[in-house]
Symmetry: C2
Subunit: 718 residues, 2 copies
């Protein structure tokens, strides 16, 4: 890629972004789009004034003029406000941007002012100094520095200094976030999951139910702190019936709201022949049957208990004691783990035995590794099938259209990448699915685990697949010969600098703009409003998909860190990305996304580890590059750098990670003592006894007689 | 090596062993050797009848006749007796032999009856079927099977079946030993270390001593269970003074027991000139000074406290709670670990801060790895220096002796291996030293850690150094290219079969015979009796050096497992080794070694992991061998075997390892409740308060006036 081409691409994408921003600033002011651009505000508004509809706002000229007020609002939001609004997870999420901004500001200054001129003044690739626009981007990379040149020592020192700075910032952030986590714990209200643990692998005793076994075990071994327990039951069947009931309810409600003529249908083939039936009565009867069935199942399933139970304690410390100390003699029985929030429990998957859960975990790991490593094979096959010739043989009628140059160019240029995007689109949900099969019992654990999976997937299938162009097996092979890794990477990575610059500009910048405008959501909303017979006021406030957002950001950090000393030209573009991201995602957190559940900052260790991995990767490449550049001394002197980084990481693991895994005695006992004498606690404990109930076992209330469509048809009293 | 040579070597070593056994059965009956062959019995005897000396036994003819009674006694010893005599560690130690005997009985039957004939009938190496005595040992190994022969599938199935059998036996043993561990815990008396934890990283608070900080922390956060604490003090200086005092005391006692003329010595050069001095008075004065100094130091050092303390609790469960839950908000402060037995504490090393301990741990790991990997380099250098020519140039007067063929052959043949043995002799103490620098605070932890170090050292420097003959760096290189490992090992390992057979015979069998006869100890005893002016009745009952014994046995297991299907000829020799070992070490545990401290079976996980490693090594070699033998299908079909083994190991880790790390709530609470109402407990708690005192801080009692030499000169009231 030459410089002018890069500038063109940057120009186009910048234009696109500006266009999107303008569009956003206009669209967001249209009252019809409130549910797209500010569902969160809308919900809050409604909960305050349920009768007032915001659609009745009148037309102002201001509505069609672009404005930048939202940027100011997003910028002015303080961290404490964000914490109050969206919880610690959102703060941690924004800290990724703050951290990256710090890192890449320093990196950009060093890279552009020191490294870039040195690279450009090298003569390895070309001597033509003045033809700037036609200059290859490689002249700005380390490849242009003369072999064996002493200027490379500047790169060497830059690598050391940059690593030190990043490590220092990492330490600072870890420290900051862990103190935030502790202070959030201190200021939290008593929450059910703080007092509860999940016990699995309850041993089956003949003649006694699981409930009795749990009761006797905990009253014997935790007499002073044990409060109550709820044994989990298998509810797959009930869940099925409830889904049927819900479907039927919806159909019934739809029928009732329509005119009378549709209440009848003929019995026979396609509703054309046979005698007329009263659909309404028919449905109501079916519903009644289903409900009876449901009640019967709910009653009978009390016996079908799973050897798992939520056990609640009278104090947080009591729960911690049972959590941290092995309970039974057999470590595969009475396995304890922290209970999730009642609303956060992933009920469907409580597989029975220790060994089954353990095997399914192994299977998922293997499946995930296979998916990650072999993902590109089906993609390449699909891309091969979807080329021009194939399309012509399959759809002969397209021949004339395909023969147009524009169309054929568009297809050959965009179809492969479209297929790749399509496949990539399904990766986060697939990882969520795999994680939920892994036996996690809370949605946030599933999301965290999926986040790690998506991250490693992205690094492998975008970074390494582009760098080590070749088959998946070739790439696996490279990593099976550890000695050759630095050399192979050093040869391959610098030459891909221009690809990653354009990747940052297209995928990064434009991705953020898409995120802001929410094109898909807007389109869906528009279509539903166009075709729905009547306007539905129902909408759901989405929660931010951390498992796909965090890996994206971390991937850009990885690219920036690895290319920092190889091709510093990428750094300003990354800096722009993080600035945009900082503003846009703050805006989205403010208006669009509502927190669904809270991990209290547990995402940060992922960020930390990923950054350490990026640093190590950078060091390995540096070792190889200095070797290739005939500076073996620098290459050998770089070897301590990854070792020191790993030692630093190990120290951080010791110093901070335990805080993110559990709360210490000091906090727990202090918090317990504080609340000991509060009156509200007895009320809280009364509630706690019944809070961990599978919603499937709750009594179902059918509101068929009500005319209102807004009232939920199926109440689950949680 | 040809068969006849092997048989000669076996014959010689068998003869040696029989000679040693005969010698032992005679020597052990001599009353003068009781302190060598039955120090344990002697000690028990003395503690029962302190005045009776066994030396007065009269001479019987029976004393010079060899007998085999000791074998019967050793054989008849039941496991429960052994448990009562030497604790669970000895039982676990003997279980290694039982396990190995089971494994190698099955292996020998399969190997000799099925695999050996198949190997021998192959024609790859030679067609001369009938010249048995001159047959190379390689004809009995897998190398002799024809390339691509279908007979190799028998080896393939043997590998699968053998792995399954070993895994099953491993599971059974793990299960058995963990249940033993639990039952030992239930039957134990209350021990101080069960109620105590060691807390390190006590935060320094201005204006308050560590003792006050500990007191306030534990009374705040563990009000119901906290009992008392003892802050550790730095005692290096005091230790030095005590050593001086002890030395002086010994000299004084010696002086007093001798005749009066020696009490005077001239002051000047070499005691030849100058005025006469009364040594006795001189020494006594010095001793007094030292003791004053000591008392002063002991008094002042109360202020020099280390931020570490032994904290005792009123119940085992209370101690477990403080042990397992992170105490302070900063995980590097209030770091808890299980306290060792008071007598087992390794006092000298209580380094101050978390980070210093952590760094010293890292340094030791690096040093240990360097020692293991690079050990052979100094050995080879020393061997090179000590060859014939070098000796002749250094010691010209030896020229005539060295020119004798016998001497020169002896030197060239034995000197290098002697040097290797000498170096090897220092490895276990060196590993103990490294482990004690690693920051472990109990001797048993040090020994366990040294055991792992010695084991990996042995595997690397005996197995891999012999198999991959070449420089240490070459060997490291092999393991840096994981893809090539199976091929390289498959080429190298089978050809070393004859070396390992002779290794088993010489090092294994003869080593056990040496262990039985205790030649070095016997010689020392003899010399001391010969030269000592008077007979000293003092002796120490040794404890079995697990850190050097267990690795030796496990190394033979490794050799047996890896050579099982490559060269089954090795198996009968190993079987003999384990039979001998079973009898001899039982005998030694019965008569010689007394348990010094108890880990309650914590050595077993090392045995388990080492066996798993042996299996994996065997599988890797199998993959390579089937590849080399042109049977790629078998090679690929072997790949699941190591994976399945690792999965099995992972399951065992989950199922059994936690039991070896800490006791579960169930045991702790039951045991606590059992003892709650016992009267002896209040007495025990009273003692517990003061039991964790550094012996260096105890008041020293000087017994210079006593004439008895047996009474200890320095009393430390522990």
């Amino acid at each position: 890629m030459i410089l002018s081409a890069l500038l063109t691409s940057v120009g186009i994408n910048l234009g696109l972004c500006l266009l999107f921003f303008t569009l956003y600033s206009i669209l967001r002011k249209q009252p019809g789009n409130v549910s797209v651009y500010a569902p969160r505000l809308l919900q809050e508004h409604r909960s305050q004034q349920p009768q007032h509809s915001p659609r009745t706002v009148q037309f102002y000229l201001d509505r069609i003029l672009p404005s930048a007020g939202w940027i100011r609002t997003a910028w002015n939001l303080s961290e404490d406000d964000l914490l109050a609004l969206s919880g610690l997870d959102a703060v941690v999420f924004m800290r990724i941007f703050v951290f990256s901004l710090k890192v890449f500001t320093i990196a950009t200054i060093t890279g552009i002012l020191i490294l870039l001129p040195i690279n450009y003044l090298g003569t390895q690739l070309s001597d033509d100094f003045y033809d700037l626009p036609n200059k290859s981007l490689d002249s700005f990379s380390i490849s242009n520095v003369d072999n064996g040149s002493n200027w490379l020592w500047v790169h060497f020192s830059a690598a050391y200094i940059f690593t030190a700075v990043v490590c220092w910032l990492l330490y600072y952030e870890y420290d900051y976030i862990s103190s935030r986590r502790i202070s959030c714990f201190y200021s939290s209200k008593p929450l059910p999951h703080q007092f509860t643990i999940l016990v699995r692998g309850i041993p089956a005793t003949s003649g006694r139910s699981f409930s009795e076994v749990v009761e006797s075990f905990f009253t014997e071994f935790h007499p002073s702190t044990y409060l109550s327990h709820t044994v989990v039951t298998r509810t797959n069947k009930i869940r099925g019936i409830i889904t049927d009931v819900q479907k039927l309810c919806r159909r019934l409600a739809h029928l009732k709201s329509n005119n009378h003529s549709q209440h009848f249908r003929r019995e026979g083939f396609l509703g054309l022949f046979g005698r007329k039936v009263n659909l309404l009565r028919d449905y109501e009867k079916k519903l009644e049957d289903l409900e009876n069935n449901l009640r019967k199942e709910q009653f009978s399933s009390a016996g079908e208990q799973v050897p798992a139970a939520f056990v609640s304690f009278k104090s947080r410390f009591g729960a911690a004691i049972a959590l941290h100390i092995q309970q039974g003699i057999n470590p595969t029985q009475w396995v304890t783990e922290q209970a999730p929030d009642p609303l956060d429990v992933h009920w469907p998957f409580f597989s029975a035995s220790f060994i089954r859960r353990w095997i399914s975990k192994l299977v998922v790991i293997v499946a995930c590794a296979a998916l990650t490593i072999l993902f590109l094979i089906p993609v390449v096959l699909a891309q091969g099938l979807a080329n021009l010739d194939q399309l012509e043989t399959w759809f002969p009628f397209l021949k004339r259209i395909l023969s147009l140059t524009v169309v054929s160019q568009l297809i050959t240029g965009y179809l492969p990448s479209l297929i790749l995007k399509l496949f990539l689109y399904f990766v986060p949900p697939m990882m969520i699915m795999l994680s939920s099969m892994q036996g996690y019992i809370s949605l946030r654990q599933i999301e965290k685990s999926a986040c790690i999976k998506v991250l490693s997937f992205t690094v492998w299938n975008i970074f390494f697949a582009n760098v080590l162009s070749g088959s998946a097996l070739y790439r696996v092979n490279v990593f099976l010969e550890p000695k050759n890794i630095p050399r192979v990477l050093a040869e391959a990575v610098p030459s891909q600098a221009s690809f990653f610059i354009s990747y940052v500009v297209t995928s990064g910048w434009t991705g953020l703009a898409y995120e802001l405008v929410q094109l898909v959501h807007l389109f869906c909303c528009f279509v539903s409003r166009l075709f729905a017979r009547e306007k539905s006021d129902e909408f759901e406030v989405p929660s931010i998909p951390y498992h796909s957002e965090i890996p994206t950001i971390l991937f850009f950090v990885l690219v920036g860190v690895t290319y920092f000393f190889l091709a510093p030209l990428i750094l300003p573009f990354l800096l722009v990305y993080f600035c945009l991201g900082f503003i846009i995602l703050r805006n989205q957190l403010l208006n669009v996304y509502a927190p669904k559940y809270e991990t209290n900052g547990k995402f940060w260790p992922i960020v930390h580890n990923s950054t350490i991995f990026s640093l190590i990767l950078m060091h390995v490449i540096a070792i190889g590059v200095f070797g290739l550049k005939k500076l073996p001394l620098a290459s050998s002197l770089t070897i301590p750098l990854p070792i020191l980084t790993l030692v630093f990481n190990e120290y951080c693991r010791k110093r901070f990670l335990p805080i993110f895994q559990a709360y210490p005695t000091e906090c727990l006992v202090k918090k317990d003592n504080e609340e000991q004498n509060e009156q509200s606690m007895s009320e809280f404990f009364n509630k706690l006894v019944n809070v961990y109930q599978d919603p499937a076992l709750m009594p179902v209330q059918y509101t068929g007689s009500s005319d209102s469509q807004n009232s939920p048809l199926l109440h689950s009293q949680v």
